[in-house]
């Protein structure tokens, strides 16, 4: 027996065991059947128990490497098929000089790259404008500060200039 055959045999055995255990548990649910209770309620209870076992088995099964490998193989198969079909269609479109899906995607991607570059440049410009604004604000603040200082100085000088005039001179007696 080759390794490959042995592997397949193990997988089948694991699969078989999982589901045999599940069926055994489902059969075990029926052992709790109570003939004294209303049959409809009992049937509902049995159904609930069986579905619970089935749900648990499915969950367990969908976590097994066998299921995951099978999922991978079927998804890859479907993707390969889709690719082959598309490549075939692309060749037909090429022959008739029609745009293919790939062409459309390429155009979209090119637009996307241009958009990205423009956005990056804009962001750079945005940052530079923000920096310039900040510097202008600093200059404005400095100018305002100087303006206030000049105002204060002007007021002080004016006050000093007005002060002697306001003070009455003493009579000298001459």
């Amino acid at each position: 027996m080759t390794d490959n055959t042995g592997k397949i045999f193990d997988q089948v055995a694991a699969f078989q065991k999982l589901w045999m255990d599940s069926f055994t548990e489902m059969a075990g649910v029926w052992s709790q059947y109570s003939a004294g209770s209303p049959p409809v309620d009992e049937m509902r209870r049995m159904r609930g128990g069986m579905l619970k076992v089935l749900a648990e088995t499915w969950d367990e099964y969908m976590r097994t490497p066998q299921f995951l490998e099978m999922m991978k193989a079927s998804l890859n198969g479907a993707l390969d098929l889709k690719r082959m079909a598309r490549e075939g269609m692309n060749r037909v479109h090429d022959q008739f000089e029609n745009p293919t899906k790939q062409d459309v995607d390429d155009v979209l991607l090119a637009i996307r790259h241009v958009e990205r570059r423009v956005l990056e440049r804009l962001e750079g410009l945005d940052e530079r404008v923000a920096n310039l604004n900040e510097r202008i604000d600093d200059v404005d603040a400095g100018m305002a500060k100087h303006g206030k200082a000049i105002d204060r100085l002007e007021q002080t000088i004016k006050a000093k200039a007005e002060k002697p005039a306001a003070t009455p001179r003493k009579a000298t007696g001459a």
């Binding site: 209303p38 309620d41 749900a55 499915w58 976590r63 995951l68 889709k82 979209l108 991607l109």
Partner: protein, 364 residues
Amino acid sequence: MDKETSNGADWETWQASFINETFANLRRLTAVPFLPDKMELVRKGITPREVVYEEDRLKVYRYIGESEPRFKTPLCLAFALVNRPYIMDLKEGRSIIAQYVKAGFDLYLIDWGTPTRAERFLTADDYVNGYMLNVVRYLRERTGSDKVNLLGYCMGGTLSTMFTAIHQDLVKNLVLLATGIDYSTREPLLNLWTDPRYFDVDKFVDTVGNVPAEFLQAAFLLLKPVSNLVEKYVNLAENVHRDEFVDDYLHMETWLNDNIPVPGEVYREWAKYLFQQNLLVKNRMPLGRHIVDLRKITCPLLNLMASNDHLVPCSQTEPLNDLVSSTDKEKIVWPAGHIGLAVSSKAQKELWPRAVEWLVKRTD
């Protein structure tokens, strides 16, 4: 003699049970023809709203309450990219939005819209640092508030967390529902299925482009096949004569079957950086020119999670509270599933008034 009496009682119980069930079945059968009419009554959202902002496919709705909002700081809701956001305003008595609007919040909801092939190259950076940032800037301008409150659900919660980590100065409070943060856990099947040994995300996205809604729908169904493909329909058959049950069922089914495709590049980033490399908790998640560092989150945080969530279990959500720098942080574990956390009647009556109160205390 005793045995005979017991047998007689058993027989009567059996007989009564069968008669009751027969009449119940008749009631069920007579209700079936009315299902299409009831289906037509299903509405996608109940609270009055208006579109206040649009960008590409995105729309921002403002929800209108009976009176003017009490709070200046707006509340912005972000939902996942895989479903429509009206689950947050599902129906009368099952609406998170209605609860916040009633409490006086100026509430806005981001509807990401349905991506077309033109959006297949959009990345998470476009959503967080593009759309979300633009929406928040717009809300600041509109309301005159410096900051916004953010509420994110599921994938929308992860986007909101990333946004807050990068733009903390714009977020006042962060509320998260069933938000995936730590993807190291193998508890949910999705985390196992996206394992790089079994799932080649590059090949997948390169081939399909935008991830089709049908693919996502099938994956969600498969997470709980017995519940989604058997139990659900058995329950419907048994309760088809109960108006309240049917109304809830039809609203939920309408929403569950209303999947939308996910932009291919976002899916690639999500699968690779989060599901496979778990970069968010390592503070190494790249987002355009930024690296998301959860330690930069300092605002008050309310983290809501569901103990029976098969999609985003508590082990995936809980670690966030230890990863942020916020001092005011709280988590609530609620006994519900991923959707029940938002819409179950118990959550609506007991959890959401608490969550609303939490935000009221922290909002101007």
